[in-house]
Structure formats: C-alpha cells, structure tokens
C-alpha cells in the first residue's frame, strides 16, 4: 500500500518551512495556513489560524526526511510517522506543543512525545 495520501511537497528553497510540533511534517507556513497539518489538523486546528500555526509549528528542526513509503519504511516507524501521510518530515523538531494540545492529547489517552528526542525510551 504505497499509495497513501501525500502532503504538499514544499519547494526546497522556501524560507518559510516549518515543522509541525506534533507530527514533524514540514510544510511552508502558507500551506499550513491553507490546508493545515495533513496529519494532526483534527487536533491542532492550524488551518487559517496563523497564531496557531506559530504556536504549533516551528522553523527549528534538524534533518529532513523524505517519507516516500511510510508504511514500509523503518525510518518512518522509528520516527513514529508510519501512519502519516507521505511527505517531508523533520528528524528532530525543537519545542513542545502548546499546553492545551498536550491536555487534549492527554484527555484522549495519547501519550505526547515531543519531537525533540528529549525523552527516548
């Protein structure tokens, strides 16, 4: 099943690339604004919400992963992005999601894992 939905692949040279703090997908800020985060829009509500985008995405990330076949890829599994759409992901994202998101995740019983590799078990 390689034909999963794919995120918009941002232009390489874009200066406004940002990574989602929750799923680490990389998009331009305008894409975040237009379509939101393809993986976590339901919880982050980024679409048309620039403030939210600023809070939930960051331009501080390290390493770019081109995730072509998330399900088959070990890299995706390791990064816990195997169930996400195809696209560009960051290997490491600095920062944590806002507290309300964390609370929401918590209420859903989802363990929040910051993408900054600060806690690896």
């Amino acid at each position: 099943m390689s034909d999963a939905a794919s995120a918009i692949i941002p232009p390489t040279k874009s200066r406004h690339l940002r990574a989602c703090l929750l799923c680490s997908i990389i998009q331009t800020s305008s894409d975040f604004r237009n379509i939101g985060c393809p993986n976590c829009e339901e919880i982050l509500q980024l679409k048309d919400n620039p403030d939210r985008i600023l809070a939930c995405t960051t331009s501080y990330y390290d390493g770019v992963i081109a995730l072509i076949d998330p399900e088959a890829s070990w890299v995706a599994r390791w990064q816990r992005t195997a169930k996400y759409v195809r696209g560009m992901y960051a290997a490491r994202v600095k920062g944590r999601v806002p507290e309300d998101v964390e609370a929401e995740l918590d209420s859903r019983g989802i363990k929040y894992r910051p993408r900054d590799q600060s806690d690896q078990d």
Binding site: T12, I68, V75, W78, A82, R86, A91, R108, K111
Partner: protein
C-alpha cells in the same frame, strides 16, 4: 462514535474489538458510519467532485470511463480500506453506469463477507489483530482524520531496525545541497510513482550535522542508485555504502548540540549580527516554541545623525522602521554609536517628538521598544550566541547600574557564575584555599592538593578529618577568603590589583531574588571586598577572580596603548613621561617638571620611540651626543644620575633612576646640563685595560685622531678604535645610510639603504632596507657594494672601499701629506686610498678600513706578498687588523717567526702604528707580530735584491709600490717612478721612508710621535720578506735566510725578538691550502678555437705570444712545431666553413722542413719562420713573469693591455694575478717590441685578473 476510533492505544483497541466480536456486521456498519462521519467535512467537496465527474462521464467515451475508473479506484484505495467500502456503498446506487465496477465491488464485498464468516473460526485475538490492522491503515483516511498518536506508546527501543527492514544507504552529495536533494528525491518518487519505473526507495533523509551525505532507505543499493540517478549534486560514484543495522537508529538520534534548551529568562547572550553584534543581552522571555527569545540590551542610538542623508526628519518618519533604524543608528558601517541607555529627552531632541511614542512604560522609537532605557526585542534563537558568552563585570554593571531596585532582580549573578563556571575552574590552583558549598561535604574547608580535570583533591582542614584527602567535583567548591587575607586579582577589570580583604559577602542581595534552583549556584561565588594596595580604595570582586598572593604591586604598567615611561604628547606645548599608571589614568611628568594626573583620552598622542626619541639627539654639557639609554648625571645642582628615557626637542631630557622615589624615579632636566657618567668610550663599550694609556698619551691620542674615522668604524680595533670613538663620539658606522647594491646571494641586484651594521670587515653584517618591497635583510658586508653618485659601485668593505675614509672630520687633514704624496704617485683617483678607484682590487690603504693595515694592502696588491696571496682576494683580513686571516692569526700566536719579520719599523708606521705601541706594545705581542707580518716586506725584498734602499719599507705603505718602482728603477734607471716618488725608498736611507722624509713626519705627529721605532729599525726589513716569500712558496732563499736584525729601538719595546724569520710549517700549509681553495673555486677559461679573431684583440694582435699545441696529436705538419711559441702576425676571420688560420712567426729554432711545407711556403716563402697556422693549434701563453705585459682575452676588460704586477704561479691557470692597466696614451709604438715597461709611466688601475684570461705579449 466508534470505540475503535476513539481509542488510539492498541491495547484498548484490542479490548474493544473483543467486545464487538459478537456483532461483526454491526461493527462494520458502525465503522462505515464513523467513516462517513469522519469524512463529513470532506464529503461535500468530494461529493461535488464526484457529481461533476458523473455528469461529465455521460459524455465521455468508454476509454475515458476506463481511465476514470482507474482514477476512482486509486482515489478509493488511497482512502483506505474502510473508506473504500464505505464510499463504495454510499455511491454504488448512484453510479448507474458503472455496473461492472459495482459488480466488482460486490464481489469484493462478498469475498469480505466470506472472510468474515471465516473469522468466526479464528481466535478472537487474530480477529482483533486484523481489525487493528484494518483500522490502523484506515486512519490514513483524510487530512482531517482523527489524530490518534499512533504508536506513541511503543517504547523507542522496540522500534529498532531488524533484518527484515530495508537498509539505509549512505550516499555522498554535494555539501550544502543535502536538503535540496532529499526534497528532490521526494518529488521524484512522486513523479515516477505511476510510471513504469517507480522508485522503490522508502525514504531518504539528511542530518544537518552530517554534511555532504544523505541516507536512503531501500532494499538494495541498486534501487538507491536508480533513485539518485540524474539528480544534480549526488555522487553515487563515490560509493553507496550500507549503514550497519546497529547504526541506523543512531543516525536519527543525532542530537545537535545547541544551547537552545538552556535559554531561560535571565540568561546572558550575545547578539550575533547587525549593529549590536557582540553586545551582551539578557534574555527576558522565551517564546513557547523556543525559537524566539525576548532580549534586552543597551541600545546604540546615534544621537549625532548625519545631516546629509536627506534630512533627519523625513527619514525618521519613514514607516519602514527597519531601514531607518539601521540608518539612524548606524550612520556608517565602520563606526557604531556607543552603547547608551535610551533617554527620551535626548532622543526627542535629536529625532523629533513624533518619532517616539509612549506605550505604557515603554517607548517606541523607530519600531523598537525601549523600556527602562534598554531596547527590548524578540530575536530569533539563531541570531544570538549562547555559548562562551562570558559577560564581563563591566557589561553587567551596565545592566545593573542603571536599573532601579526593581530591575536589580534581573541581574542574576548566578547566571554569570554559571556562565563562567568553567572559567572559574581554570582559576583554581593547587594550594588555593577552598570551601565546599554543595554536595555532601558542603561546608568543608580545605586546600587544593591536585586538580584532575573536573575533579579536585583537597586536603581537609577540619581537624576532625585528620587532613584527609577528599576528591570533589571542582564545581562544588569555591575559593575561600577571609578578612585579612592578602589577595591579588587574577582576572577582570581590576586585574593585577592587590590588597587586603576586608569583607567577604555571600552576595545576599542576589540570593534574595533567586528563589529557584539558581540558589545553589549563587553560592559558588562570594563577593570579596578588599582594599587596594595602590589606590587605597575598596574593590569588590568575585572570589573566583582572586587568589591569595604575597606580592604587592602594580602589574599594570600598560594602560591601553600607553606604557610606563612612554613619552606622550598632552597638548601642543606639553609632553610628558608616564611615571605611574593607575587603572585608568596616568601620572605624567611634563617637561616642565610638573606632575599631572591624566586620563588616557587626554593624551593626544604617544611619541613613538622610533620616530622621535631614538633619533632625537642632544648634546651634553661637553658637547657630546646624548642618546636614549645613556647613563647621565646632572653637571650641576643635585647631580642626579639617571638613564636617559627620552629626549625632547634636543633640549629636555627625561631621566629615570629607580633610586629616586619622587615621581616614580623619573625626572626631567636640560640636556645641556648633563654629563655622561661613563668617561669616554661609553659607546665603544669595550675598554681594554690599556685604554687609559692611550688616553694619557697625547701623541697616541693624536694619532688616533688622525686615524679616527677609520678606526671608529671598527670597534674591534685596539685602543685606536676606542680613542677614536671617544673623540668622534659615536660609533655609528658611516655605512649606515649608504645606498648599496647587493652583489651576491639571493638578493643580488637589489638596491637598498644600510640601516644598521654589526661587525666589521667583509663578514660584518649589515641590515639593509631594500628599496623594493620595504624589506629588511641582513647581509654580509662583503656582499654589498656601495652605490656612488656617479652610478658606479665599490665594495663597502675591504679593498677598494675607500669611501669611508673620505675626510669628514678632519682626521684626514692630519694625513694630509701622505695623501698628497699618494696622489702624486699617479694612481689616479686613489687619493688617500690606494685601492679605491683602480679596479677596486688594491687593498692598499683604502682596503684597510681600519687605517692601519696599509702594509697589507700593499702586500695584497703586490700580489706576491705572502699574505698577498691570500690577501689579494680577501681584503678583509687586512682590513680588519689582519686579525682575521688565518695566517695572520697563526702568526700572531707564534710571535717568534714574526717577531723576526716584524721589526720593520715601516710597518709600524704605516699601519696602526701609533696605537699598538702607544698602548704599550708589550701587551699585545701578537699584534706587534702582526705588524711585522704585514710588513710589505716582500717588496722590501725586492728592493733589496734590486739594491734599492731598504728604506722602501720604511715608506710603509707606499713602500710596497716603492719596491716596484725600485725595480723599475733598476731596469730603467729611473728613480722617479710614479710609485717610487713618494717613497723614501728611493733615497735608500736606512731610516725608512717616513723617517727620511721630513715632510711626512711633520704633519702627522701621530705617526711620528708614538712610534719612534718606525723610523729606526729598517734593518729588520730584510728578514721579513724572506718569511713572506716563504709563504708564497717562492724560493727566495736569500731573503728567507736573512736573519732579522733587531734594531736597538725595538728592543726598547721588548716585543721583537731577533729571531730569524722562520716560517712555521703549519702556517705555510695553511697559506697554501688557502691558496688552493682560491684557485679551485674559479673556472678555467678555455679560449675558443677562433679566439684570435676576436675583434677586441685586434689592436694588440701582433703582440700576442701564442703557443702551438695539439699538432702532434693531429699530425699536423708532423707535429714538429708543437710546443713552440709564436708571434701572431695576422689573423683574420674567414668564412665559417673554413678553418680559421693565423699568420704567425714562430720563434726559436725552426725544425726541419717537412714535406708538407707547401702551405707555409705559399703563405710566406721568404721567411721560413712565418707561416700560417690553424688557430685551433694556437693557444695563448699565460704570463709567467712579473712585469711582463699581457693582453686580456676575456672578461669585461677584454682587449686591454696590462702589466703583471705579481709573479704568477706557474702551475695554476686560474690564479688571480694582480695587474696594472696600462694607459694607452703612450701609443702603440712605445709599447712596441720590447714591451717598454719602464715607459709605462703611472700605469692605470690595479686589479686582479685570472691568469688564463691573459695572453702574454712579446
């Protein structure tokens, strides 16, 4: 809502599934419903799309439908299984046209049902797993599907790669393009997805910390290669390397070390770029995502904006704050305004009221917010520096000083302590008294025993611990001081201050505000207050910057660019010398003897040593020159002594004497009122014990004065040099400042100016500033030629270097007579110096820089003097007292042989005469010997042999020439030869030339007075020559054997033993070897076969004496002529194809005519001796006799005629022979057949010529 969807964790899923197990259908339907529900937002859009497509599809042909179908399939499949089914169900009815498809789907559904039925046979867990799989996949549904945070429960370690996973491959790429290439791979894979050759890689990634490589996840390297093919900047050719499985995870776990995490409010950071680059800033807050920090720092507002940029007002109103603020605050990129807290009034005054608006407590000016004087700004994390901030106390005080009490809390010293923790570590040293402030041992005191990295070993001072050694982390201790300790500041603004500790505080004021974990760190540094030993002021510093020190003192002699004892200009009229430095001020003694306290900015400039002091010259009360560094004392008044620090305007002298406490030992006085504390010779510096004698002997002094200029150049001289320097005041080599050209070595051809000299003679070193490239080189003087105004050059040292002696300070006047006489001698411009003009070779007088060396010089030019052999080439030895020539030295050590020769009074006269003797000849027997050694004796010999008066020698220098002349006289009977004339030799008086000629004696008391011996001891002469001849290897038994006859006068001196002249064998060897050395360093000159046709030789062609050689080998004319000499009659160049021949007249017995005589008879049948000879058989005959004439065949003087002035050595072709150029004015006729040596009056320059460059004349 389905439970499934709601419960992301697997475990839950599983449970739910079990619950649902009984009603599969139901769950399925629910699922569908859920899916629809989930897809709510998307549905309208989708339905619309769908509808449109359906409407269109009616008008499309079957193929289009097919393709449409496919697309549909993709769409559906991409929606995931659950969605597929759902939608299929939802739309199946409406899609009337797509029966087939519907059928297909029904089939699928059927199949599914079948499976579901089978499921009942499966275990519940299996079913659950299936479901989980299904739902898991289904979660890829749309962009708005519910976020489930998949897998976040699984520990990372369980995600480690296994062998079943695809491998990672490392691919080299162009550094800097890693990210771009990863993006390209992504796009490429999407582009090629539905082509016949889709990429089969799973992922690709790049890490910022691994430049130049990307990693591709794929099953095989081949797939990687295929993926990378065609991408610019990827270098698969450099290898696609498999990443070991255990390293795969590490690649993704790389954590870039960045301090972003530790940015907390209060942290000190530095700004990276812009106008404030490098400025310290304090973090005020950090944005949630941590990418921007709010910092505050001291603004740099330009309060003097330039007027020229379109009027400030207009500019200020420009809305684009970025630009204006940049221009307003940074008028030029080179200078930035100083740091200054924002002041509303000032800014308004300069920029106008409209530019500043007030918002609450803050002002907004040009888009920036200013609060409490600071600028507050949100800055991206990557434009601040977090590491190695090391704020200085100065910078921090800028934040603290201006802050009110409230703000004080912002200055958290703990953070500084934190930042400088490492630095503090380095400050700890064994022996430091420390106390432990954290950890188990908190409160313990001890002294540091050892330091191992971060671990300290301390010896506890607590008596209960019995001096136990304890290892501690270094960061847990702090230096401990108590009141009364004497401490020294090791770093910071107050570095170097020492003082007594008066209080130690735990910086409570800061602790008060730190209620957090910083409290612990607070304790690391206490603030120690001590009273400075120097300023008697209280100074507070961190304890880490202190250490106990016994010394008291001010180590800060340098403030800014000014140093203790610098001469500085305060204003136009006032200069002063810094005699004390404080932290930021100086005490300066002005030239008016006033003491002033000045700040560095009050100093208008520092008078650099180079430009002023070093070259400023003043004269003392006795008219002597004062130089910086001289020890002087006041001639009157307090008679203070001191070392000259500076001389100002040749009038004021600043002196320093550490014995005076007043003004730091610096005092100022009039230069005119000073007198040197060191009696004469300060500058020479090397006063031999005998020097006093010299001074006391007026005659000697006079003599020295006469020779002064020469001697002063060579400090190595004996007393003469000293006396000379005392009088001449200043050993400054006159070479300094001379324009010279380098004649040897890598800098050959470079022109420069001599800046300094060290040492005398050819081996002395001169520092030459090259005209090119502003470069200083050190080079031996022997490699320098002086450039004369007329464009010619001459050696700066050694023979031919006469320039030094150009009369400058009248010393020459005393030499007057001799110089006159010399000029008479016809050697042209050699006045005073022999050597100088004439080919530069004659070491003569001129050669001897020291003045004394005359005899040698003579010898050298004579060529034959034993010394000459060596000396001819190396004028040095002679120039330098002769002391340098090995031969000479040897000689000096063995007084005897020399003493025999020594005695020539002439020698004494000529050379340094006065001095050695004046100094008490007894002290330097070697020297005397030397004197003897240098005697021109050889000439004396000749004179003797020629029955000319022994007195020649007496003539001292000229004597040598005199000898030649005498010779001539012998031949010609002409006593008035050019050379002879000055020499008393002609007179033959036993008293020596000088003595006999009153005119010489009179003007030069120097000569006459101190060395009475000079005149007397003529008899000694004969002996000397013998010795010298021996050296030369000349068999001159007659002379050699002559015992030296001691004149009674000499015996007075006791230096000269009447030993016969005997050459010590070793010396002989030495001389010989030296000669050989010289010989073999030159190349032999082989004349070309057609050498006789050289146009340069044409005028002398008929004089040339040639030898016939090589005919035997070639059987030319049976070789009968081989070895015979011949006179060239004619030689003309013929065509290249023909053999060059010359008409020669063969001298000597003509061998019997052979059968092959035809040629010769045809050439000149009348004379059997004249015949034509191929030139290749004719070689030049080298001169072998002194005074023979020769023609130069080669070299710059080719074609000129010379007279041999030195008897050539027979065996050696390349020997250098002293020759005298023959002035051609006499016309060819006079030089005719017999050579007419005697008629060559005057002669030309003397120089040296390699023997085989010459062809002797008939």
């Amino acid at each position: 809502m389905s439970d499934n969807e709601d419960s992301p964790p697997r475990r839950k899923l599983y449970d739910d599934d079990e619950d649902d197990d009984s009603e599969n259908e139901g769950s399925e339907q629910e699922e569908e419903a859920a899916a629809e529900d989930d897809g709510n937002r998307r549905k309208p859009k989708r339905a619309k799309h769908r509808h449109k497509r359906d409407a269109l599809s009616r008008f499309l042909d079957i193929e289009a439908e097919v393709s449409d179908e496919e697309e549909e399939e993709e769409d559906l499949s991409s929606d995931g299984e659950a969605g597929f089914i759902t939608k299929e169900g939802a739309h199946a009815d409406s899609d009337q046209d797509e029966d087939d498809i519907a059928g297909l789907h029904h089939a699928r559904v059927d199949k599914r049902r079948l499976q579901e039925e089978n499921r009942t046979e499966k275990s519940a867990e299996e079913i659950a797993r299936e479901l989980a799989d299904r739902y898991g996949r289904g979660s890829g549904f749309g962009s708005h599907r519910r976020f489930t945070g998949e897998m976040s429960e699984i520990p990372q370690r369980l995600l480690m790669p296994s062998v079943h996973d695809a491998s990672l491959w490392q691919v080299r790429v162009k550094p800097g393009r890693e990210r771009e290439i990863v993006f390209s791979l992504m796009r490429k894979s999407l582009d090629l997805e539905y082509t016949s050759k889709p990429l089969s890689i799973f992922s690709a990634f790049q890490r910022d910390s691994l430049p130049g490589m990307i990693y591709v996840e794929a099953r095989s390297a081949q797939q990687v290669n295929q993926a990378c093919n065609g991408l610019v900047g990827v270098y698969p050719s450099r290898g696609i390397h498999l990443v070991p499985i255990d390293e795969m995870a590490l690649l993704l776990m790389i954590k870039k070390v960045d301090g972003g995490e530790k940015v907390v409010p209060g942290t000190w950071v530095r700004l990276k770029r812009g106008k404030y680059a490098g400025d310290l800033a304090q973090v005020v807050d950090v944005t949630e995502n941590g990418e921007e920090v709010g910092v505050r720092f001291v603004p740099r507002i330009d309060l003097n904006p330039r007027e020229d940029d379109g009027g400030g007002r207009k500019r200020k109103k420009t809305p684009s704050a970025a630009n204006t603020s940049a221009s307003a605050m940074n008028p030029t990129s080179t200078s930035r305004p100083p740091q200054r807290l924002f002041n509303f009034e000032e800014v308004v005054k300069v920029y106008g009221r409209n530019t500043v608006s007030k918002r609450g407590q803050a002002y907004v000016f040009l888009g920036d917010t200013y609060k409490d004087g600071f600028i507050e700004k949100d800055i991206k994390l990557n434009s601040i520096i977090l590491e190695d901030v090391n704020p200085t106390l100065d910078e921090i005080t800028m934040f603290s000083n201006n802050a009110n009490n409230l703000e004080e809390s912002m200055v958290d010293l703990s953070i500084i302590a934190e930042a400088s923790r490492k630095a503090a570590l380095a400050v700890l040293q064994p022996g430091d008294h420390v106390e432990v402030f954290q950890g188990e041992q908190a409160g313990l005191h001890g002294t540091v025993q050892e330091i191992h990295g971060d671990t300290l070993t301390i010896i506890a001072l607590d008596p209960s611990l019995h001096s136990q050694k304890i290892d501690l982390p270094a960061r847990s201790v702090r230096k401990r001081f108590k009141a009364g300790d004497h401490v020294k500041v090791m770093q910071g603004k107050n570095i170097g201050e020492t003082g007594l500790v008066v209080s130690v505080s735990d910086s409570h004021s800061n602790n008060r505000n730190s209620d957090n974990e910083n409290g612990g760190a607070m304790n690391e540094n206490t603030i120690v207050t001590f009273i400075s030993d120097m300023s008697m002021q209280e100074i507070s510093v961190f304890s880490k910057d202190l250490r106990e020190a016994a010394e008291v003192g001010n180590t800060t002699n340098v403030v800014g660019e000014y140093e203790l004892h610098d001469l500085v200009q305060l204003d136009l009229e006032t200069v002063g010398v810094i005699y004390k430095t404080h932290q930021s001020s100086f005490l300066i003694l002005t030239q008016h003897s006033q003491s002033r306290l000045v700040q560095p900015h009050q100093i208008s400039l520092k008078k650099s040593d180079k430009s002023t002091s070093l070259h400023s010259i003043a004269t003392d009360s006795q008219g002597f020159e004062i130089r910086v560094g001289d020890m002087m004392k006041e001639a009157e008044g307090e008679q203070r002594k001191g070392r000259v620090l500076h001389i100002h305007q040749s009038h004021y002298a600043f002196l320093f004497n550490r014995d005076y406490t007043e003004n730091g030992g610096v005092f100022v006085t009039r230069a005119r009122g000073l007198v040197s504390t060191t009696p004469k010779g300060t500058l020479g510096g090397k006063l031999p014990p005998g020097a006093d004698l010299t001074k006391m002997n007026p005659a000697a002094a006079g003599g020295a004065q006469g020779l002064g200029p020469l001697n002063t150049n060579t400090n190595a001289n004996g007393g003469g040099g000293l006396v000379g320097s005392a009088i001449g005041r200043g050993p400054k080599d006159r070479l300094i400042g001379a324009h010279v050209v380098v004649i040897k070595g890598p800098h050959k051809g470079y022109v420069g100016i001599v800046k300094d000299t060290n040492g005398v003679g050819l081996t002395g070193i001169a520092r030459v500033e090259l005209n090119t490239g502003n470069k200083m080189i050190s080079i031996e003087k022997g490699k320098l030629h002086r450039k004369l105004p007329n464009g010619t050059t001459e050696p700066v040292e050694g023979p031919g270097a006469n320039w030094r002696r150009q009369p400058t300070n009248g010393s020459y006047s005393s030499m007057g007579p001799p110089s006159k006489s010399f000029s008479v001698d016809g050697s042209g411009n050699r006045t005073p110096g022999w050597g100088n003009a004439s080919g530069g070779r004659t070491p003569g007088w001129g050669g001897s820089g020291g003045g004394g060396r005359t005899p040698f010089g003579a010898g050298g030019s004579g060529g034959r003097t034993p010394f000459g052999a060596g000396s001819g080439r190396t004028p040095n030895p002679y120039a330098q007292n002769g002391g340098q020539t090995p031969a000479w030295n040897t000689g000096s050590k063995t007084p005897n042989p020399y003493s025999a020769g020594n005695q020539t009074p002439a020698w004494n006269v000529g050379s340094k005469t006065p001095n050695p003797y004046a100094q008490g000849g007894g002290s330097s027997s070697a020297w005397n010997v030397g004197g003897g050694g240098r005697t021109p004796n050889p000439y004396a010999n000749k004179n003797n042999s020629s029955s000319s008066g022994t007195g020649i020698w007496g003539g001292a220098t000229p004597g040598r020439w005199g000898s030649d002349n005498d010779r001539d006289k012998d031949k010609d009977g002409d006593g008035g030869g050019g050379w002879g004339s000055p020499t008393p030799a002609g007179s033959g008086s036993g008293v020596g030339g000088w003595g006999s000629d009153s005119s010489w004696n009179a003007p030069t008391p120097a000569f006459a007075a101190p060395t009475p011996s000079a005149y007397a001891p003529t008899p000694a002469i004969p002996s000397t020559p013998g010795f010298l001849h021996l050296i030369n290897g000349y068999a001159n038994p007659g002379f050699g054997s002559t015992p030296a006859i001691m004149d009674p006068m000499y015996s007075d001196y006791g230096n000269f033993a009447p030993t016969p002249a005997i050459m010590p064998p070793e010396m002989f060897e030495m001389m010989k070897s030296r000669a050989f050395m010289d010989q073999f360093t030159r190349d032999e000159y082989v004349p070309s076969p057609a050498w006789l046709t050289d146009p340069g030789l044409s005028s002398h062609l008929s004089l040339l004496r040639v030898r016939i050689t090589g005919t035997k080998r070639d059987k030319y004319l049976d070789g009968v002529y081989d070895g015979l000499h011949a006179r060239v009659l004619a030689a003309t160049k013929v065509g290249e194809n023909f053999e060059q021949t010359a008409l020669v007249k063969i001298e000597g017995k003509v061998p019997a005519s052979t059968s092959s005589d035809a040629a010769s008879s045809s050439d000149n049948p009348s004379d059997a001796n004249e015949r034509s000879f191929p030139m290749k058989y004719l070689v030049p005959v080298y001169p072998s006799y002194q005074d023979s004439t020769a023609v130069i065949l080669y070299g710059p003087r080719r074609g000129s005629k010379v007279k041999i002035r030195q008897r050539p050595d027979e065996g050696n072709r390349t020997e250098l022979v002293v020759v005298e150029s023959i002035v051609e004015s006499h016309g060819g006729s006079s030089e005719g057949d017999t050579g007419g040596l005697g008629k060559d009056k005057g002669g030309g320059a003397f120089w040296e010529c390699q023997k085989d460059w010459m062809c002797v004349c008939w």
